[in-house]
Symmetry: C2
Subunit: 324 residues, 2 copies
Amino acid sequence: MKKLSLRIVIARSIGQWAVAAIAAAACMSAVHVAAAAETPATAQPTKKPLTTADVLAASTPADWRQIDPQNTIYMDLPSGRVIIELAPQFAPHYVANVEALARQGYFNGLWVERVQDNYVAQWGDPDAKKPVGNAQRSVAAEFERTSRGLSFMPLAEPDTYAPEVGFSDGFPTALDPKLGRAWLIHCYGMVGAGRDNDVDSGGGTELYAVIGHAPRHLDRNVTLLGKVVQGIELLSSLPRGTGAMGFYEKPEQRVTIKSFKLASEVPEAQRTPLEELRTDTQTFTDYIDARRNRHEEWFKVPAGHVDVCNVPIPVRARALATGH
Amino acid sequence: MKKLSLRIVIARSIGQWAVAAIAAAACMSAVHVAAAAETPATAQPTKKPLTTADVLAASTPADWRQIDPQNTIYMDLPSGRVIIELAPQFAPHYVANVEALARQGYFNGLWVERVQDNYVAQWGDPDAKKPVGNAQRSVAAEFERTSRGLSFMPLAEPDTYAPEVGFSDGFPTALDPKLGRAWLIHCYGMVGAGRDNDVDSGGGTELYAVIGHAPRHLDRNVTLLGKVVQGIELLSSLPRGTGAMGFYEKPEQRVTIKSFKLASEVPEAQRTPLEELRTDTQTFTDYIDARRNRHEEWFKVPAGHVDVCNVPIPVRARALATGH
């Protein structure tokens, strides 16, 4: 297994980062000791540059937040579970509607019906006929919100699309300080509600996840309401549809949704408890710095910058409380 | 098929854009006529805002360039053909080496061995043992080149990573005018040469294609040598590897490369002739404008900007000359 190349560890898979952290730490200490020995006595000791693995290895339990089951959707496909964290702080009415749809089993037995390469995977009812019961078929657009009261960790670098970008409660967020408005960003894995030409025609009966390079031109044109925190690869690796816009041309190509439920309504033994690195912590700031300038031995030219959509936020299995 | 949502046509699939162009043109003319009737007599007639489909429909044969078979690789997988255009203007020695490897059938029977979600698909010899014949096992890094003599169509907008970004001969390119250096950008579909920690340890015996959000931190850290112009979905839809960094854990999970050849060495009847929109034309400038501010009816808030990696460059089947 020589010449593996691109020896970059992205802390995405649960558990994987811990192993990487140990390996990287071992490697980096040797380098650091050597460098320290050459430092002139008058020089200030320089802080050891941290890798993302180092940062995560040094994190404390307080750096992590539970992903709230009340706010989590499990979409079970034949290949496994896609876990979506909802963002009611950005799209309260859409989230409430998706929850109402989930509660009555609206998506159960429907399909992933569209997979367009480098763009989106979309699921719902291609005929838009299934009754929505006590949910709404459409909800007024929630493209943006006031920035007031929003926890926001800004990035220092310029963004091509928005005056400011950063993270809010784990979600990639854009902000216009002049207008006092904030909105979610179409990064990889973000989940939104499809709509027709009318801005208020969406509602959550059709949902999509981004599976390619961030289609930022969709920002503020569609209501984003959550993000995939685990299992995005079950959507991104599906065969691409050959119809217009990536729709599957034959019904038998569609992927059936076994169930689409709120995590809080699934028996505890069947849940997948997760926690995510908090984005309002010093640890996350350090993690961003380590992404900005990679200190793993493989990297030669540090980027010096980081794109808001090039920061996979670490998610890991949550240790359950023991005892009673 | 109501409520399709996201009625966005990305001109990627061959032939598809032409159909879309006609549909969009028909739709837009009606809108335009109505708007014109309401224009006060004193107002200047405004130019009809063009959609990407409009721009492509109005293109002339001179706006397109043949993708040179001398410069093209066909990687045939069991699922179909991946077509790679090489970039000798950026990585002359790597390209020459990949061509030498292709000529002697180095990749035939090797595998796609790694598919890491939102990152890369990589192919080659996981054991790095297959003889390379008259090719080289490693080639000195070609991370960047002089910007002198480079055709460059700059984008006006700020980029998070580089002083200037734009397009050179169809390739997404970054430029540092102060240093007079230019380099290829890790956009979706770009192809690079894996390496070990030593900068000069790559050579093209291990290749990868980007299948996720642009990993720009790899820019100037790996030699990019081409881009996938057709068939990237055959790589991006492969099952993700479950080993570290997305490597397939079991040999039987690997995807066998049936053949990896220079297009010019394939009999003409078996070729896939393609042409790409030239990036040094007014039509491409108009296309970029239409991506910046989408005028399709579905869009409500024009982005006003465009990311260099959010510009899929149109590729279409090339009409062959008839007669003799």
